[in-house]
Structure formats: C-alpha cells, structure tokens
Subunit: 188 residues, 2 copies
Amino acid sequence: MKQLLKDHITKTVSLTDEEFDYFFSHFKPQSFKKGQTIISVGDKVDCEYFVISGCVKAFYINDDIKMYILQFAMPTWWTSDYAALYNQTKATINIDCISDVELLCLSNADREKLCAEFHQIEHFFRWRTNKGYVASQKRLLSFMNNNVKTRYEELLALYPQLYNLVPKHLIAAYLGVSRETLSRLYNS
Amino acid sequence: MKQLLKDHITKTVSLTDEEFDYFFSHFKPQSFKKGQTIISVGDKVDCEYFVISGCVKAFYINDDIKMYILQFAMPTWWTSDYAALYNQTKATINIDCISDVELLCLSNADREKLCAEFHQIEHFFRWRTNKGYVASQKRLLSFMNNNVKTRYEELLALYPQLYNLVPKHLIAAYLGVSRETLSRLYNS
DNA sequence: ATCCGAATGTGATCTACATCACGTAAGCAA
DNA sequence: TTGCTTACGTGATGTAGATCACATTCGGAT
C-alpha cells in the first residue's frame, strides 16, 4: 500500500525516504465493502482519496433519477468531489464502491500543508491536475465529436479492464447513453 | 498589461515587486488581428498565452469539417493546446482570434523554470489548473445531463458578454449543436 | 453607393438515441 | 428449494437535434 503510493509519486518527483515517510504519515487507510458510499450529495467534503485496490465510481444523479458517471477510479487513481473540496462547499456528486475497496485518505488541509512545506509535493499535485485537466478536455471533445459506438470503443481501448470489472449499465452511465442503446450497440 | 497580470496573480499568491518583475520579464507581448491564427493543428506548441484584450477561440475540426469549440478565452484567461504543450507533441487543436487580440506569451520551459525557482509561482499554476479541471468536469456533466436550451442559458448566464462578442454559429460550436438548431431555439 | 461573402432564419425531412414495455437469466438470501 | 433483486436483451414508438436547401440580412472592402 505504501509502496504503491511511493511508486506513483516518484514517477513524477523525487523525495528522500524521510520525506516520503512524512508525506505518507498524513494518509489514513480506509476499507469499504462493495456498494458502500464514500461521499454523498450534501456531505461536507474534506478529503481526497488515492485508490489502492478495487474500483469506485464518482457520479451525479439528476432530478429524473438518471445517473451520470464522471469517473471510474481504479488503483493509483485519485478521486473526490474536487469542486466541493477546493471551494469548501457541500458535495454535489456521490462516490461509492463498485467492488470492495481500499483507499488512502488525505485531507484538504494536510494536502495544502504538505504542498506549502515541500516544493516537490506542490509540483506533484500540479502535475497530477494538469494530467486530469487534459484528460477531461479530451473526453469533452469526444463527447461533442463522436457517436456512442465510437465513445464505447474508445473507452474499452483505454481501459480494457472495465469490460469485466463494471456492469454494462454503469458503462452506459459513463458514456451518457441509455443501457438499452448500449446493449443494442455491442450486439451487432 | 503588466498590471492586469499582476492583479490576476496576486489574487492567489503574493509576490514581492522584484519577484513579480522577474516573473513578468519571461512574458513576451504579442498582438494579432481579428481572424489571425495563433496555433494550427500540427504546429509545435511551446507557449501558453495570457489574454490581455480581445477574445480567442480554441477549437477542433473533425473529418467532416465540423468545428467544436473547447474554449473562448477572454481577458485574464489562459489558453494553449495544453495536451501538446505538456507532452511536447504536435498541436491537435487550433487557436485563432475572434477579435483583435493582445496576449502575453509564456514558454513551457520558462514556466517550468519559474515554477522550480519560486514555490509561490508553482502554487499559482497548481491553483489555476485546479480551477480549470473543476470547470471542465462541470461542463462535461452539463453536456451529459442538459439539453441544448439549458446549456445555452447556462453559458449566457456565466458569460453574458459572449452574447454580443461572439457570432451565434460559434456559440453553437461551443455548445456542440448545429447553428440551425440554436437559431430555432432562441427564436421561441 | 455597390458588391460580395459571412452570418442568420426557416421549412422539410432524416436519424440516432431515448423511452416504455416486457421478457429472460443470474446471483443470493432464507 | 423458493423467492427476490439486479443485470441484461429486444421490440415498438417517440423525439431532440442533424442535415439539406434556400432565402434574407448584415458588415466590410472598394
């Protein structure tokens, strides 16, 4: 668990063992069972999460009780309601567990403290969000430009493990399409 | 011009006058006329741009020659092909000028140098990308959840100045809708 | 003023996808 | 086993928005 985070961080920045140990000491391990909720709409959000094992979904539910999935987070991915976390507002999305899950939890206050204390850590988090921003722009463009079939193929090409890991109706909710349409689509 | 950037930066971090002057010395002012191109698909991208005056659009053109606008950038906004800039790859989007435009140009190398030299500057750029990431996620969600009319009203509520500044067919290209549909929409 | 191209409006038709309805199969607890 | 819930398949029908075609209006250049 410690090693997974260390490998992840040191792909981007180099920390001494002491620095990493100090960094790591701010993370709180948490375990969840399949189906459990990590963040609910309306919650106060003060942590972000680094996924160690399992898979969570971050999703929005609209007034018609339709679900849209913003992110599947798998091992070495970070997740939270970042709008709520950064702006200190209530959660507008939910995060729950698709499988049994182990997480490392880092509070907003601790992240900011660590960023202020270690330039390298600030650098890491800048780099991480840069990646996220670029990925998000790319997904937006795919949404505008591509039909459902193309988006489905793109998704499976990028994350083949999702095919077995995640029920099809959740894939549909990620693609922003009805489960019926998705079903018809790959049976042809 | 210098003051606009200074006010923008100091909303997030505090720099001494000397620090800011040093920071500012890495920016190169550039002027463009309406219709001119700043970045074309296939270009080597090594700068990002801080908009001083005017408005640019960052857009993608697909094989059917349909245009999708990723961003309108107005004064105090930053723009570039960030995927290309961060990964040192060729541009996959275009950026051109909707009006006469003044920019401050900052190279990727200089940004990284400044970030490494000044912790506060790294902090600023982390904060900036955080904002961008959250906004991008929000737009993605709106795309999945809302119909064109709602997205149009959302856009004008957020950026009322766009209504007069930008031709309607570009608004349509931002919303990911045909200009005909948009026209019918607000004439009712 | 005159010209020309860009921007916009509007009808007719087409289509990708949603929605509704109903079915079957698989997992899981009592 | 039974019963229940969740996942998934598939037909019939509805609809938001795309596409095509053509008219009109506006703004800039000469």
